[in-house]
């Protein structure tokens, strides 16, 4: 299915046998998409022609919970990404999406017994057993009208995961959803909805990738995370898109009293990325820690960052972002620290560091600080640097070639982020940097 119109939206909803309230959200999205202008401040999106994008690509398989039932060519793709292997050893559950639909979803029995729900999003929205819960949260934190590309997302969303962790339940191993966009010229619009109930904790890992085609692809996913009272959530992601991808993604979390969210984000690949995970610290004691890294190379604009909205006293946030640019790549780092009126004991610290590897590349930091109270300690630091010639000489004086030494220093620059990631993701991230540094990316 190409393009975007009401007929397409209705037939998509019908094919998915959705309840009417979901269709209504889709239509709200369509309306907002048609009425909203493209963001004026955004990077150049003129080559993105939505009428040419396949908004829905159905993989030739049904969703299963046994890898042996996944068609071989699709399974091979996930095998090469190491997903079935990781599931056996280190994960509590796995969802795998291929193009527009989830092809595999499984939660370990022991975890299921604790009351944890981990389902493809469509099932959660349609099954009466879950839909009451899902309806309460779905597209509420990021409503369809939130911005132009979320409007698009709401209209044609397909695939993604729904997670609910019941009160006081600690999910010992991470849950992981992997999104693979394989069809040329296609769009992927998965929706991830996570609710971590009071006193519970969860580590969710999201991976995204796509092979390279000569036509533009579009990814406009949406992540909504609810961290309830005293709950803890870690959201790790490594996005490694092909360089024809427009990655216009939305991630948002709402954190209640005493709750904590930790984001660890790696942004790689894509032609243009626009992604600014936002955390709303709504009640006292809520905390947010954001750590991100991005690498922009030739013909890439990575417009990324993070935002934190402090709406309550005694809330705390840190944003720590590292960006690398090379071969004419452009990096924009936008951050926002917002502190509402009449609050006390709010602390927010933002630190953006950029490493520029040559004279053709550009790195910009656009920090925004809006503080409407006197009871806040808000600090921002930004620095831009090149590879230290001294450190380069030091490594070469150990017998390491210049090219390899430069790569090591770049990876060293991002080390504090990769050590926050699960080991295979850290390795993937290091590999992505290595490939970029050696020009094979």
């Amino acid at each position: 299915m190409k393009g975007l119109n009401e007929k397409l939206v209705r037939s998509l909803s019908e094919a998915k046998k959705e309840p009417n309230w979901v269709l209504d959200l889709r239509l709200r999205g369509l309306k907002a998409w048609n009425s909203q202008k493209m963001p004026a401040w955004a990077p150049d999106l003129s080559e993105l022609n939505l009428s040419e994008i396949e908004t829905y690509v159905r993989p030739k398989t049904e969703m299963v919970s046994d890898w042996s039932e996944v068609p071989e060519d699709i399974r091979r793709t996930f095998d090469s990404l190491g997903i079935p292997e990781a599931e056996k050893e280190k994960l509590a559950g796995v969802g795998a999406q291929y193009d527009s639909e989830i092809v595999y979803h499984n939660l370990k029995k022991a975890v299921e017994k604790t009351g944890v729900i981990y389902l493809p999003i469509e099932e959660a929205l349609s099954d009466p057993k879950y839909s009451k819960l899902a309806k309460k949260y779905f597209l509420k934190l990021v409503p369809p009208e939130d911005h132009k590309f979320n409007a698009l997302h709401a209209a044609v969303f397909s695939g993604g995961s729904f997670i609910y962790v019941p009160k006081n339940t600690e999910v010992e191993f991470p849950l992981q959803s992997y999104y693979r966009l394989n069809a040329p010229g296609a769009g992927q619009f998965e929706h991830t909805l996570i609710i971590v109930d009071e006193g519970a904790s969860l580590h969710f890992i999201e991976g995204c990738s796509a092979p390279k085609y000569n036509v533009a692809n579009l990814h406009a996913g949406c992540v909504e995370v609810y961290v309830n009272k005293n709950a803890r959530m870690k959201f790790s992601t490594v996005e490694s898109w092909s360089k024809n991808m427009y990655n216009l993604n939305t991630k948002r979390a709402l954190v209640l009293e005493g709750g904590e969210i930790e984001w660890v984000t790696g942004n790689f690949g894509s032609k243009v990325s626009m992604l600014y995970p936002t955390t709303i610290l709504k009640e006292t004691g809520a905390k947010c820690e954001y750590t991100g890294v991005s690498l922009a190379s030739k013909n890439q604009v990575l417009d990324t960052g993070a935002k934190v909205i402090h709406l309550a006293s005694n809330t705390y946030s840190t944003i720590n972002i590292k960006s690398i640019v090379k071969d004419g790549g452009v990096s924009m780092t936008r951050t926002l620290a917002y502190v509402a009126k009449n609050l006390s004991d709010v602390k927010s610290f933002t630190n953006c560091k950029s490493l520029i590897l040559d004279d053709q590349s550009t790195s910009n930091a656009i920090p925004e600080v809006k503080v409407k109270t006197l009871g806040a300690e808000v600090a921002h630091e930004a620095s831009v640097g090149k590879i230290s010639e001294e450190a380069l000489f030091y490594l070469m004086s150990r017998g390491i070639s210049e090219e390899k030494a430069r790569g090591m220093l770049v990876r060293g620059f991002t080390a504090e982020i990769s050590k926050e990631l699960p080991v295979e993701y850290a390795m993937e991230m290091n590999n992505l940097i290595k490939m970029e540094m050696e020009g094979t990316g």
């Binding site: 010639e389 490594l395 150990r398 017998g399 390491i400 070639s401 060293g412 620059f413």
Partner: protein, 269 residues
């Protein structure tokens, strides 16, 4: 007669144009000469000591031989027959040269183990398992009272002066150099560690026939070594050379007295 490992002829070193804080000056900035007319050679298994006051040019000799990018270097330098000045720094190391830094550089996010592993992999041209890497320095680390896990830390970040120096020696010996240049390896070390390092160096030399070019101010690190040559530098020139006797004389009298004494006898001030 032992084989010459390093031959230095007419070594001239100047520091590259210093960037002016107000941009480049019309004349292109000043180029400052640091060393001129330096000749010496080192044979296999020899220990050569470089002496001199602060600023005499000792560190410049070793770092220019290592290929420090701050310097313009000319002259003829042969390392086991190869034209050293034509090689990149890493190639010099792969040929058997190694320098321990007087001020080791911090490499944030990169551990010593990773540095050694990368170097070994460059040499081998392929993967080296981590156990094989640790094997190369476990013994030395233990003798220096350091746990091997210490070397998993980011190299030189937050290290004490002494730890940095031990870390330099660990890397040096793991990479098995033929000519090891030690630039004040012993400064910042406690006396016991200096003694132990001296022993380790003597044993390594005995095992491998490696040569040393050593810069040191307190000379304790030389205790267990047999000094074959000593070179006294002053203002970028070789002022005089000798054997272990010169080292002893420096230890006893200090450098200034020797410089004055010799200058007087040469009839110049």
């Amino acid at each position: 007669m032992k084989k010459e490992i390093l031959t230095v002829q007419n070594l001239e070193v100047s520091i590259k144009h210093l960037a002016s804080p107000c941009g480049s000056s019309p004349a292109g900035g000043a180029e400052k000469r640091i060393l001129s007319g330096v000749d010496f050679s080192i044979s296999e298994g020899e220990t050569v000591v470089l002496l001199g006051r602060n600023g005499a040019g000792k560190s410049t000799i070793v770092s220019s031989l290592m290929g420090d990018p701050r310097f313009n270097v000319s002259g003829k330098v042969k390392l086991e027959g190869a034209d050293l000045l034509k090689l990149s720094t890493d190639q010099r190391v792969q040929k058997g040269l190694f320098m321990t830094f007087q001020n080791p550089v911090e490499t944030p996010g990169i551990s010593t183990t990773e540095i050694i592993r990368s170097s070994l992999e460059e040499k081998k041209g392929g993967f080296v398992p981590i156990d094989k890497v640790r094997e190369k320095f476990t013994n030395t680390a233990q003798r220096l009272g350091e746990n091997i896990w210490f070397f998993e830390r980011e190299a030189n970040v937050g290290f004490s002066g002494g730890e940095k120096k031990k870390n330099e020696l660990i890397q040096a010996l793991a990479l098995k150099p033929r000519l090891l240049m030690l630039d004040e390896l012993d400064s910042g070390l406690d006396l016991d560690s200096s003694d132990e390092i001296s022993k380790i160096l003597a044993e390594y030399q005995q095992e491998t026939g490696c040569s040393y070019l050593i810069i040191s101010h307190n000379l304790r690190v030389l205790r267990h070594l047999e000094i074959s040559q000593s070179i006294l530098l002053e203002k970028g020139h070789i002022f005089m050379s000798g054997d272990s006797g010169l080292v002893k004389r420096v230890e006893k009298q200090g450098i200034r007295a020797i410089l004055n004494e010799v200058s007087d006898s040469r009839g110049c001030v």
